[in-house]
Structure formats: structure tokens, C-alpha cells
């Protein structure tokens, strides 16, 4: 199977939606998203049997600059594409619950976002990767701008765009520099991996890349765009942003930063680990004080991605494997949490934690499913959050006890605020007897998410076995030096 399918499917569907005479947007979008998930499922099954069945595509694109349209996938890419496509499907499904003006454009933009993110995960040419990386921002920008709620949506969106643009332009300088080290400009990953770069230069490249990824992830001092953006975005877009877009940066750190500038990571990676762990603590403390449920989940997300970034930058097989598991877990958990926030929003028309109470009496199924997903997010054993966190902590502990301690206390705080909010919303007295349990369609989705949470918790090793070869390839050349 050619990897190009994964790009073409959503892209052509988006075109179809925009160009079709009649409005079939919802149906096309949903079918396309489901087909993408099936396609990636088939690919993973094939990949499991024989890694060479996934063929890549390599066409010269801009000859004078040595840029190729080169797409390919290894286990790591497949994992990320799986996350992306599953989250997109969920996002489409959630979109059906609300009405959107101009919904043709809306669904087309969601599909385009999926296309470009898939492009980021499959690009084997650094320049092409950059193009996809920037392109993914455009649909997100318009989705926020047109369908975002609240009067601050415009400044928040522009802030989000400018922050990411700033980071990625510095990355562009680094990419240009990397691609032109040799006598002929060449941006292909194989060439970039083979470069011998001096330590001083590595530091600059590392700085430029980490600025871009630090903003996009986001890591601690660069996170200020996130809470507003996540809060003001419509729920499906928040799901896409938190589920996939933050993973784009984490994936890129594994894919580009670690193998390209290994010496810089070894020397200076620890500082980013500290930043990330401080970020975990910081975000958790702020989350404690939030009254707004969606905002609180946004900070939870910052804390979790901070931990994942710390795990990656321990620069050990263990840390990276843990981070990959945690990435898959975070994608599904955070999507679940934002979906829950949306269901609650539909009940009362706002996200204020204090205006809910005692919902469990009327909606027992919802309460149960909420609890499962929340446990996944806290990292209770047998849920998907546990394994990844445990492995990351182990690798952090081996690297630096202090960092492990800070991050650990952050995660404990995480349990505090999640449980407190659950208590306020679900337990306690309430006089509002008009409520009934959530609709069947919402229930189905929550059941699915809860199943994934538990199954991945019981059997996380599919992720490690899928990505094992890629991780070895990325980390081994350096360990051998």
C-alpha cells in the first residue's frame, strides 16, 4: 500500500465537499474520516507482517533547491497517523452534535487539517515537512477565527498564529542551513541524518528547532497562547488541536532533533527537561485554581505534554518508548475530556465548574464513563495513562532525581484537581431534576473512548513493538559513537 493514500483520501474529500453541487458535507466528511482510520488500520496490519509493504513516494519537486516530494512511513509515523486519523474521526463525530454555519467550509477545513498533519507525519524531506507544518496551521487558524466563540477570539487566534509562526520561521532558518551544508542542496532525511555537524552549530540548530517545538507543544515559558485558544475554539477543533497538533511537535522532536543534533541534546537536553518538568508543576498549580472546566483541561494538557517532552529529552530508549505510549494515551484522554466538557456545556450553557453538581444521580452512565477517562488522565493503574507515566518517571529518575521529583509532584497535584472537579460536578446535592442521561450517540463515543483507555492500559506493548525499530534507528547511531 502506498502511503500517499493517507494524504489523498482526506484531501480529495475536502475538494469534493467544496466543489460538489449539493451539500453532502457531513456524510462525505464522516465516511472519509472512517475510511482513513480503516486505511491506516490495514497499513498497520500489513506493516506488522512485513515492513516493506508500505511503499513510499519520491518525486523531484523543486529541483533548483533540491526539494523532493518524498513521503514514507515507519512504525513511528504509522503510530502518529493512527492517532491523527482516530482523533479526526472523533472530531467529526463530535461536530455532528452541534450546528455550524457554513458547514461545508467547516468540514472541508477539518479534512484539510487532517491532510496536512498526515503530511507532517509522513514527510521524508525536511523542506516538504516544513511546508506541511505551516500548512496545518492555516485551516486551524480559520477554524478558530470563523467558528470560535467569545469576543476575544480574534486576538487569541492571531496570538496563536503569530507565536507558532515565529517559532517555525526560526526552524526554517535551521532547515535552510541544514539543507545547504553539502555542495548540493539536499533536504532528504537520509542526508540530514548523515551530516557531521560541529557542536557549536548543533547548538544553534537545536535552539531554533526547540523554539518552534517548544511553542507548538507547548513547553513552559511559551504556553501562553494555549489556554485561550483551547477555551475559545469550538469543541471539535479543540480536540484536533490538543489531540494531534501538540503531537506534531513531540513527534518532530523525536524525528528531527534527537538524530540530527545528538551532541547538543546530550549537553543541553537537561535544560529543556527542567523547563518541561517545571511546566508540569506550573500548569498543575494553575489548573487547581481554574473555575472554567475547559480551561482547566487545557492546563491539564499542558502538564501532560510537558511530561512527554521531558521523557523524550531524557534521550534514552526507555524515555522515548514511554513518551510514545503516553502520546497515544494523552491523545485519547484529552479528546475524551474535551468531549466531556462539551457535553457539560450543552447541559448548562457554560463551563463553570461551580454551576454543576450532583449530576451522577441523573446520568449514571455518563458519570461512570467520565470517571474511566479521568482515571486514564490521572494515570491510575490498568488505564492507558499509567504505563507511559511510569516508564517516563523511571527514565527521568535515572537521568535526574530532582526533575523526576518536580514532575512527580505535578502529577500528584493533577490527581487532586481532577478528582476535586469530578466531585463538584458529579457528586453532591442538586435540585435540577429535569436532566436525563446523555444521548445514545454521545454514549457510544464515550464507550469507545473508555474501551480504548482500558485496552491500551492492559496491553500497551503494541505501541512499543510498532515503534521499536524506528526508535532504535533514531537512537542507536548515537549510542554507538
Amino acid at each position: 500500500m502506498n502511503i500517499l493514500i493517507i494524504i489523498l483520501l482526506p484531501f480529495l474529500s475536502a475538494l469534493l465537499i467544496l466543489l460538489a453541487g449539493k451539500d453532502y458535507s457531513q456524510r462525505i466528511a464522516l465516511i472519509s474520516a472512517a475510511a482513513s482510520v480503516i486505511a491506516i488500520g490495514v497499513m498497520m496490519a500489513l506493516f506488522d507482517k512485513d515492513a516493506t509493504t508500505i511503499t513510499s513516494i519520491d518525486l523531484p519537486w523543486i529541483k533548483s533547491m533540491g526539494v523532493h516530494f518524498h513521503l514514507g512511513a515507519d512504525g513511528l509515523s504509522l503510530l502518529m497517523i493512527l492517532i491523527c486519523n482516530v482523533v479526526t474521526l472523533i472530531s467529526m463525530y463530535v461536530s455532528l452534535g452541534d450546528t455550524f454555519s457554513q458547514h461545508r467550509l467547516y468540514f472541508a477545513l477539518l479534512l484539510l487539517m487532517q491532510t496536512f498533519m498526515n503530511g507532517v507525519f509522513t514527510a521524508q524531506d525536511l523542506f516538504l515537512y516544513y511546508i506541511f507544518w505551516e500548512l496545518a496551521l492555516i485551516p486551524a487558524y480559520f477554524l478558530l477565527l470563523i467558528w470560535g466563540k467569545g469576543k476575544d477570539v480574534k486576538p487569541a487566534t492571531i496570538k496563536f498564529f503569530l507565536f507558532t509562526l515565529l517559532g517555525s520561521l526560526f526552524m526554517l532558518v535551521a532547515i535552510v542551513w541544514l539543507g545547504n551544508i553539502g555542495s548540493i542542496a539536499d533536504f532528504s532525511l537520509a542526508t540530514i541524518y548523515g551530516l557531521e555537524i560541529g557542536t557549536q552549530e548543533q547548538l544553534f540548530v537545536y535552539g531554533a528547532f526547540m523554539l518552534a517545538y517548544g511553542i507548538k507543544t507547548p513547553l513552559f515559558p511559551f504556553h501562553s497562547w494555549l489556554p485561550d485558544t483551547y477555551t475559545l475554539a469550538p469543541a471539535p477543533v479543540t480536540i484536533m488541536l490538543s489531540g494531534v497538533m501538540s503531537k506534531m511537535a513531540l513527534y518532530s522532536i523525536i524525528r528531527f532533533v534527537l538524530p540530527v543534533v545528538p551532541d547538543a541534546v546530550e549537553q543541553y537536553g537537561i535544560y529543556v527537561v527542567y523547563l518541561a518538568t517545571i511546566g508540569v508543576m506550573y500548569a498543575s498549580v494553575i489548573a487547581l485554581t481554574q473555575k472554567d472546566l475547559k480551561r482547566m483541561f487545557a492546563y491539564v494538557s499542558i502538564a501532560h505534554v510537558g511530561l512527554i517532552a521531558a521523557g523524550i529529552l531524557t534521550y534514552s530508549v526507555l524515555g522515548i518508548q514511554g513518551s510514545l505510549i503516553q502520546m497515544a494515551a494523552h491523545a485519547i484522554n484529552t479528546v475524551g475530556l474535551f468531549f466531556i466538557a462539551q457535553i457539560l456545556f450543552r447541559l448548562k450553557g457554560n463551563f463553570d465548574i461551580n454551576c454543576f453538581g450532583g449530576l451522577r444521580q441523573y446520568m449514571p452512565v455518563f458519570a461512570g464513563l467520565y470517571m474511566v477517562i479521568m482515571f486514564g488522565s490521572i494515570g491510575v493503574p490498568l488505564t492507558n495513562g499509567f504505563v507511559g507515566e511510569f516508564i517516563i518517571f523511571t527514565s527521568l529518575y535515572r537521568l535526574d532525581v530532582f526533575a523526576a521529583l518536580i514532575a512527580g509532584s505535578g502529577i500528584i497535584l493533577g490527581a487532586v484537581y481532577m478528582l476535586t472537579s469530578y466531585q463538584k460536578i458529579m457528586l453532591g446535592p442538586d435540585t435540577d431534576t429535569t436532566l436525563t442521561d446523555i444521548t445514545n450517540s454521545d454514549k457510544t463515543l464515550l464507550y469507545c473512548i473508555a474501551c480504548i483507555v482500558i485496552i491500551t492500559g492492559l496491553y500497551p506493548s503494541w505501541i512499543t513493538s510498532l515503534c521499536d525499530v524506528s526508535v532504535q534507528n533514531i537512537i542507536h547511531p548515537y549510542l554507538q559513537k
Binding site: 529541483k63 533548483s64 516544513y130 509562526l165 532558518v173 535552510v176 542551513w177 545547504n180
Partner: protein, 458 residues
Amino acid sequence: MNTIILLAVTGIFSMFSGIFRQKQLALPAILIAFILALGMLTFGWIGNYDDILNNMLIFDNLAINFSLVIIFISIFIFIMSQYYYSDDIEHLTDLFALFVFSIIGGILLVSFQNLTMLFLGTEILSIPLYILAASNRRNLASNEAGLKYYLMGSFATCFLLLGITLIYGAYGSFDLTDIHTALATQGISSLFLTGVVLILCSFIFKLSAVPFHFWAPDVYHGAPTVLTAFVSTVVKVAVMGALLRFMAFIGNYNSEKWVILFMLVSVATMIFGTIVSIKQKNFKRLLAYSGMANVGFVLIAILTAGEGSSGYILYNLTAYSIASILAFTIYSTIKSQTGIDTIKGISGLVTHNKLLATGLLVSMLSFAGIPPLAGFFGKYFIIFSAVKAGDTWLAVIAILTSVVAAYNYLRISAYVVNDNNSIPVLKITTRYRIFIILCIALIIGGGILPDQLFGLLH
């Protein structure tokens, strides 16, 4: 040379068509002449005119490429003018003729090999512009623009003339080749240095770069929109071409000093243009300042890649020009039908005017340098040339200013997709629609296939 003759005849034809009351002939004739000129340029200059012209003009690759771009963009300007000037305006054909003469000046400018021709080219380029800036005679702002442009332009011309005189005084020749020989034998005289600085000042003025930029916003704002588009696109290409030629000429002598001077100008222009543009409320003024910032950007390429930069510069300016012609066209349509000329005023354009809104969004995102639009590669090539030359800090400044500038374009795009319907359905013709779609296609196509476009320019 044939092109210059062809265009001159066309300009005169345009004037006569007004006299004989055949106005409708002028525009088709001009467009056909332009397309012929493009063909003539592409297939080489026919004949050798060295003897006749006494080696005053040189028709090398640089001249041909810049002339091609000048005429190519002019075609767009003329198509745009069709939607700007209504048919019953007096002296329409005279205005067209003035545009054509100005374009001839531009072609002379990019092919000068003799300082006299530099002066003649500058003047032939500028004098029609002074008239055109004031051509909206009943509008006070237009008159102010014309007068301001004329007075300031005269100063710049004085600088240019004095500079040329000083160089002549030092070496006794206007011819670049002769001056080269004289420089090699007699060494650099202080008269030469002063002369060069004065000539550079006049270039900086024509490019509206800091510190000689004060005329630009008022002129851009007051002048008819077609002229604004012309000044910010064609004129900049022509002057950039001349500057590139001039820098190549002086490049070997005391090059560090010019480089430092131009670095300061470039950085100051980028920073000033960007920062001031943030505060602008008027659409045209904003484009004036952002065009200024772009000039600073382009200067980086001249600084870091020298003569090799012509491809980068042409790509950047072509991409920039098409995007700004698109923006100016849409702006003038909105202005003429609703009277709105502020950025806030265009809020909700998308509700009833999908095509115009798309056009404006594409041009804004291209300005902001988002891949894969043409504007991205315009910026990319310049960052590339700075990084390759080792001046990474220039690239960093360019990036920082372009992020700030992106704020402007995002601000506009945010207004465009705003959720209100204050702007009614604007009347547009099918031909206009095709023109807009063509511009959009060029901007997107230039970004997806930059190699092909880039190849054409080499």
C-alpha cells in the same frame, strides 16, 4: 531596443487615439503591444545597436529579465486600470500614454550602461508619475500627492545629478566601462565616493526606504489607486534593477562601506515599515508601509548575494507585485462601490462576496509568507541568500519583522472572515472575476511550482 521602440509607438498611438475619439482602441492596443514586447524579449533582442547607442545601454540577461517582469506586471496594472477608470473620464488615453512612457523609463533604467542613461531613465520613469499622482484633479488629496511627489522627487533628482557630475568630475566620463578603466589606473578619488553616496541616496528615495521614505505614505494614500499599485510594483522592480546594476558596478570598490550603509538602510526600513504599519487604519497606507518593509527585505538579497541575487529579487518582487495588485484591485472595487477605505470597514466581506474575500485572503497570506503561496518563496529565497552568505543575523531580523508584519495581514484576514454582513453584494463582471481568479491562480501556482517560475527568470 525593439521593445522600447514598440512601446514608444504604442504610447504615441494611445495619445492619438484620444485625439481622434477612438478611446476604446487604446487599451487593447497597449495590451497587444505588451504581449508582443514580452515575446520579443523572450526570443532575444534582434539586431545589434551598440554603434547607434554609443554603448549607452546594455541588453544583457539582467536587463531582459527585469524588463520582462516590468512588462508582465504592467499588463496586470493595465487590466486593473480598466476597472478603476470609468470610460467617460477625460484624458483617459493620455493617462494610458503616461503609464506607457513611464514603463519605457523603467526599461531604460534597468539596462543603463552610462550614467546619462541612468539619469534619463529615472526622469522618464518619474515625470509621468508626478502627473499621474495628481491626475484625479478634483480630489485635494490627489493634488497634494502629486505636488509632494514632484517636490520630493526633484530633490532626489538633484542628488542624482550632483552625484553623476562629481563622478564625471573625477574621471571625465559618464560611461561605466570608462570609469572602470579610470578607477583601475587612477585609484579611488574622494569625489567618486561622494558621488556614489549621492546617487545611492536618490535610489533610496525612489525605493521609499528609510531615511528618505517620508513622501511614500501620503503619495500612496492620495494618488489614484492604479498609480499606487504602479508605484509600489513596477517602479520598484525598475529601480531595484538599476540599483542591482549600480551595486555591481561599485561593488569592487570599498565594498564593505556600501554594504554597511545598505545594511543599516535595509534593517531600518524593515523595522520602521513594519512597526509603523501596525498602527495604520487605512488600507492603502498599510500597503504603503508593508511595501516599504518588503523593500528592506529585498535589499538583503542585494547585500548578501550581489549579482547572483537577481533571480531572488525578481521572484520576490513578482510575487509581491501580483499579490498587491490583487489587493489593490479588490480594495478599489470596495472603495468605489461602498466608499469604505479603512481596514475595519471590510469586516464581513466574506458574507456576500466570496470571491473578493478569497482573493484578499490569498493576497494577505501571500504577504505574510505562508507556504505554499508565492510570497513564501519570495521570502524564502531572501532568507536563503542571507543564511548562505553567513549573515544569519540579517535573516533573524528579517524573520522577526516579518512575524510582526504577519500580524497586520492576519488582522485584515480576521476582519474579512468576520461574521457580519455590513458589506452588500458588490457588482462584478465576468471579466473581472476571471482576472481575480487568474491572480489567485498565479499566486498559488507560483508557490507550488516555484522552480518553473524561477527557471523562467534565469
